[in-house]
Each structure stands twice: as C-alpha cells, then as structure tokens.
Amino acid sequence: MKPYIREKSTFTFDEIPEETCFEAGYLVTVNSGWRSVTPYVDADRCIGCSQCYLYCPDGVISMDGKVPVLDYDFCKGCGICSKICPRQAIEMR
C-alpha cells in the first residue's frame, strides 16, 4: 500500500470538501517530468542488498524478492540509489 494516482483530479464546487480534510494518499500528478537522468538496474550485478530501496528519498524502489523494481512515475532521478549501490549495479543514463 502507498499513495497512488487517482483518476479524478478536478473537483466541482460540491466535491470540494467543506473542511480541510480529505482521503489520505490521494495523488493526481506524477514526478517523472523532473528527471533529467534515469536509473537502470543491472540485474546481473545486483546482489539484492536493498540499500537502494532503503535510501531512496522518494520511496520509488521496492524489492521484488531480491530484485529492485523502480516506479518511474515518481523517480526524480537524484541518483542516490546509484551512488549507494555497493556493486555499481545502478547506472544513471
């Protein structure tokens, strides 16, 4: 579970809440446009240590077993994952 993109992104007068209180984790825009470089995982080099998953400020890396999976919708391309990787298995391109 994590905040995720919803289909409904605009709201009519009646749909705008009366109070400043709304469903948690409601996303309407992605962050992929911020990226100038993109991380790619070399599965052969990766040892599944999870350091990239742990240190990603945006939480866009999840571990599918021992393999890191990136959510490119929300990756900003900071490159912390690439730098933290002990096996140089993440390349920024």
């Binding site: 007068f13 705008i16 009366e18 109070e19 400043t20 209180c21 709304f22 469903e23 948690a24 409601y26």
Partner: protein, 387 residues
C-alpha cells in the same frame, strides 16, 4: 439547582455540563477563575476530561485544534493579550472548521497595560472566522456555554465559537444562577460526531494547502456556514427553551423598540443600565429603546434594520475603537442600516475603555445628545480641558 456564582464560575459550570474531553488553557486575568474551576472539577471527578497545562495561549489553541482533529470536544479560555497571542490559531481553527468553544474574558489590550474590561480584544479579531457572542449576565453565560457547543458542532455550521464575557463586570460579579442537571444537559447536547478528523480505518490528510484554483471555494464555504449558523442559533435556542425553560432571542435582543424613536445599540453588560435609563425617559414621554447585540458574528443585519424601523436617531455605544475610523460595532451597524435603507442618523459613542465606568448620567447624556444631534464620533468622559 440555584447557586450564587460569578460569570466565570457560571461559564465553568456550563462547560462541565457540556463534557468536553480535552481542555487546554493558560492563565490570564480575568479568565483564571474558569480554568481554576475546571481544574477542580477534573480533580474531584465531576468532569471527566484531560486538562492540559500548556505553556502559552498559542499552544492552548494549537492543542485544542489537535484534539479536535482527533475528533473530540474541546474547550479553551483566554483574554486580551492571550487572545491576541492566539490570533494565528483563530484563523487556523476556523479555516479547518474545528468547532472549538472558547470563553474570552473581554479585557483591554496593552499598551498601556490594563486588566479591566473593554471589548477591543475580541472585536479586533472579528474577521478571524469565529462565531462571537456577548453575554449580559451569569445565567446567560452558563446557558451560552451549552448552546455554543450545540451551534459550533452542528454539521451545517462546524465553526469555532468565542463566548465573550465582560471582564470583571461579568466575570467576577456574583448572581443567582440556575444550574441545569447533567441529565438535562445530556438531553440537550448530542455527542460530538464528525468526519473532519483522523481515522485509522480510513486515514485522512488534514489542514492542507489549497492553491488559487480552489482556495476561494473553501473561503466561500466558510462564509456560507455563517449564514447557516443564523438558523442553527434559532434552533439551538428553541431546543434550549424546550428543555431548560429559558428563552433567548437570537442574534439580538430588543427593548421597547417597537415604537422607539431614540435607540441605543450596544452589547454586553452595559445594556441593563441602558434599559433602566430608557424606562426613565419613557416616563418623561420620550420614546427610548435599546438594542443589545448578542452575536456580532454572524452579524444581525436584518434584525437591526427591523428593530430600528421607527428610530429617529440611533446611538451605537461600545467599549472599542478602531483607530483612524470609529468603533467597529458602529461601522457594522451603519452598514446594516445602509443595506436596510434606514436613513436615521447614527452616532458613535466610545466609552468604558480600560474599565472606565459608564454611569447612568453618561447614558442619559447619550440619549440627550442624539435627540439634538451631535458629532458622528463621541468619546464618553473625555474632556480635553481637564486631562
């Protein structure tokens, strides 16, 4: 049950009957008695609440907002500088639509320092989105504590409520007060239920930002809630009369205004003296009347127009001045008169600042001056040749 109580004590009894779950307050004269009483009630078990000893008024309101966001009934109380220190929280609570109830003991604002009563503190904060009532006596103070929760927490309103009591003149003056039973209070006030809160089953994000594309809609809805509050205040008073047998008169109360030609419009405790002098003038054949504004927000625009239909001249008497203009109650009243098409002259009388007594002779003088015509803005008791 009847008891001899001060205004502060009476209000505390009302709060006890409303059963708030979280109380956060910081002491300031002349509010202290309320929080002392509530502390005693929590200690002796007559009130089951968390009493949180915050380190400032800013934190008092911040804490109340947090508890309200958790979905529970809250109470805080302050006065004067404390209310001003809370000012940021006032707009926060109203913008977030947290129905917090606060008692404010009306007191002069520094400088010069002064602990006595005038109404500059709350009137300076009229635009912060709080319902504002002004009580005249201790019984009304107690009753307003209960009605405050009914109105503020009503789903159509969901807006914080500031109950104002004149410092010392009301907060520290003793009267016989009828205290309703907890059973009656329970029958009157439903438990607080809201969706405007945290929820572990359906988590929420609260107190968020809203950009230019939606921000004004939130503000519009906030304003609309005040329009709905007018009807809910009536409903709250009708229900109150049914259960407790005491009847209140909505946003204002009128005295002999049906045919009154010379009318004082005022608020708070001074109204009683104004009514006495109106009686005196009636005996002399002068058609005098009094309007006591009970709610300054929402403002009784239509009710004022109706009450002043027959007026030939109007005095707005208030313990407030908006420097560089006139009293704030006056500018509100004159705008109501303009909207209502009332053309009778209205004069502003500023009195009672810093606790200065307003005497019977002062009120006679106000009535005398509006009969002959006077300056638009008049300061009671100021004589430049004497001081």
């Amino acid at each position: 049950m009847k008891k001899f109580l001060s205004g502060d004590e009476a209000f505390a009894e009302g709060v006890r009957l409303a059963c708030p779950e979280v109380i956060s307050a910081y002491p300031i004269t002349p509010q202290t008695v309320v929080v002392e009483k509530l502390s005693e009630m929590v200690e002796n078990g007559s009130l089951d609440a968390e009493f949180i000893h915050v380190e400032s008024e800013h934190s008092a309101l911040s804490c109340a907002i947090g508890a309200s966001a958790a979905g529970v009934r809250t109470f805080t109380a302050t006065s004067s500088q404390g209310l001003l220190y809370m000012a940021e929280g006032l707009v926060y609570a109203s913008g977030g639509r947290f129905p917090i109830v606060m008692m404010n003991a009306n007191r002069a604002t520094a400088l010069p320092w002064n602990i006595y009563g005038d109404q500059r503190d709350s009137l300076a904060l009229l635009d912060t989105g709080w319902i504002q009532s002004y009580a005249e006596n201790a019984q009304e103070a107690l009753d307003l504590a209960l009605m405050a929760y009914y109105i503020a927490e009503h789903r159509d309103v969901s807006t914080p409520y500031m109950a104002n009591l004149d410092g010392f003149i009301l907060t520290h003056t003793y009267e016989n007060v009828d205290i309703p039973s907890p059973e009656q209070a329970k029958a009157y006030l439903p438990p607080y239920e809201t969706d405007n809160r945290f929820d572990f089953d359906h988590p929420t994000n609260m107190g968020f930002s809203a950009g230019p594309d939606t921000n004004f809609i939130f503000k519009y809805k906030e304003h609309r809630a005040f329009d709905r509050a007018r009807g809910i205040i009536t409903e709250a008073e009708q229900r109150f009369a049914e259960i407790f047998g005491r009847r209140y008169t909505g946003l204002l109360d009128t005295y002999l205004t049906e045919d009154a030609e010379y009318v004082i419009v005022t608020l708070g405790t001074i109204a009683g003296l104004c009514r006495n002098i109106a009686d005196e003038l009636r005996e002399q054949g002068i058609k005098a009347g009094v309007v006591r504004i009970r709610y300054v927000r929402p403002f009784p625009n239509d009710e004022i127009t109706t009450a002043l239909r027959s007026a030939k001249a109007i005095a707005v008497l208030e313990k407030d001045i908006s420097f560089g203009n006139a009293g704030t109650v006056y500018t509100n009243v004159t705008s109501a008169l303009h909207w209502g098409g009332i053309t009778a002259p209205a004069y502003n009388f500023i009195g009672g600042l810093g606790g200065k007594d307003i005497s019977a002779d002062d009120i006679r003088e106000v009535f005398r001056r509006i009969q002959t015509g006077t300056d638009r803005l008049n300061w009671i008791g100021v004589n430049e040749n004497e001081h």
